[in-house]
Point group: C2
Chain length 284, copies 2
């Protein structure tokens, strides 16, 4: 087995699914769920996501060889500070946050030379949340971005990558900065725009909404706090991505107002070709 | 049976599915497919979408009691002019175009007192096209907007509504102006925005794209010509909808740059609540 004891702090959709997957693929001898609500922890245990549970984070990590911080983004540094004094020396630490630059700076400072931190961002999940929705194949074929820095222990990076591969994810590596820049466009911008597309609707237009609206705005039903925190954490990159989108919308609007048929056809064709090519090369 | 002979001009995804559904629900004694490519027509017949076919539109509508114009938006007035001299007096005419104001003005003028035109917009379909993708339950539970004007024959409106209900659609009625205004927000804007969200990506960000990108940009893979034409046809309303979206994106950007946590939470919460409520009341 890859690990003896994996402690997962936060057993929601991602943490719960990871626990279930680690057990299913026999990648850990024991998976421990750490949380602050006994009910949630018991549910996760009943659903087979974890082997044992505790509400005492400091105690729960004492014998772990890997700790996964799977709480919402804003709680990750707080939980890291809570466990830092009791993690075993050399313990492997990762998180599953959707932003990486700030978290990496903070966690590197918190764990220092004591534990070995490597950031992860599994691109899986949905607008659902909670261990009740956890599934052991959530990461099958999903992309997981690992974000080591120049200071990161190479063995730690390799082990964290192996953990994600064990649960079925495809791995790619980039710096936390590069991650935040790319993911601002590929994910964060789309969440903001999706929420905007919902907010501009009227009762009358919603009554005419159909499958196009359903798909395009599905992610707008996601947890508002989580997305607020992601926007605050990755503000510079997301603001730049919004600028880009506004520029492109302005270009479409100008073509529409000019009645420029060729220009519009070029824009729609560019999008359709890019989207179809992406779909074709998408593994999952 | 509701109709003796239904002539469908254009047997693509929508026309082909409508033919298959009318036959499946026994709403028409005969369904005739009219198109300009023999291959396409033969495929539609082999797939059971139509009973007979012709490439001669004027001839094909001569014994029809209902003609459905199911071509792309820009061809609808052209096909209407082509069949106008040979449609039987009092013949029922509808179309399935995604815009209604310009089409209704043009078709009312073309058919005058001779045939009875009522506009339809079945909100069904996908990024796929062609009779090869036709399915007889495409309209099951889908919304179909019917757009009679003060000049429209009431019996004609009732019969066209019955036709759509026979193939499983839910009916709502509004004026062509109201339709174009509402659908600009509920559908056309989302197609434009979705294409913009694809066009602002880089190779690096596309490599990080995941299920959120897949859903949010699914409609960007749609037929570029079709969407160019819809933008040209409904330009004023779509430009106004783009303005609204840009305003809301600007509001998000300002909150992100100010680090206004409460303001962002309110915006994301408004979107999540609206989106979840819509999902709950959505019949299909």
């Amino acid at each position: 087995m890859l690990f003896k004891t994996v402690a997962i702090v936060g057993v929601g959709l991602i943490g719960g699914s990871l626990g279930a997957a680690l057990k299913d693929r026999r990648a850990a001898e024991r998976v421990r769920g750490i949380g602050y609500r006994t009910e949630t922890l018991q549910q996760a245990m009943q659903l087979g996501c974890v082997d044992d549970t505790t509400t005492d984070a400091a105690e729960g990590v004492r014998d772990a060889d890997l700790v996964v911080l799977a709480t919402p983004v804003r709680l990750i540094p707080r939980k890291a500070r809570e466990i830092a004094p009791s993690v075993p020396s050399g313990c492997l630490i990762t998180d599953v946050g959707s932003t990486k630059k700030l978290i990496t700076e903070q966690l590197d400072a918190i764990f220092g030379g004591r534990a070995r931190y490597v950031g992860s961002h599994p691109m899986a999940g949905s607008e659902k949340h909670g261990a009740a929705n956890a599934i052991c194949d959530l990461f099958d074929g999903a992309l997981c971005i690992i974000t080591p820095t120049a200071r990161t222990d190479r063995d730690a990076t390799r082990l964290v990558a192996q953990m994600w591969q064990a649960v079925g994810a495809r791995i790619t590596e980039m710096s936390p900065d590069e991650h935040d820049r790319r993911v601002a466009f590929a994910s964060h911008l789309l969440h903001v725009a999706s929420s905007c597309m919902v907010n501009v609707q009227s009762r009358g237009s919603l009554a005419c909404a159909s499958s196009g609206f359903a798909d395009t705005t599905r992610v707008a039903a996601s947890d508002p706090q989580l997305w607020r925190d992601i926007c605050l954490d990755n503000s510079t990159e997301i603001a730049a991505a919004i600028d880009s989108l506004q520029g492109e919308l302005g270009a479409f609007k100008a073509l529409i107002e000019k009645g420029d048929a060729d220009g519009l056809l070029r824009k729609f064709t560019q999008a359709a070709q890019t989207r179809r090519a992406w779909n074709k090369h998408r593994p999952a």
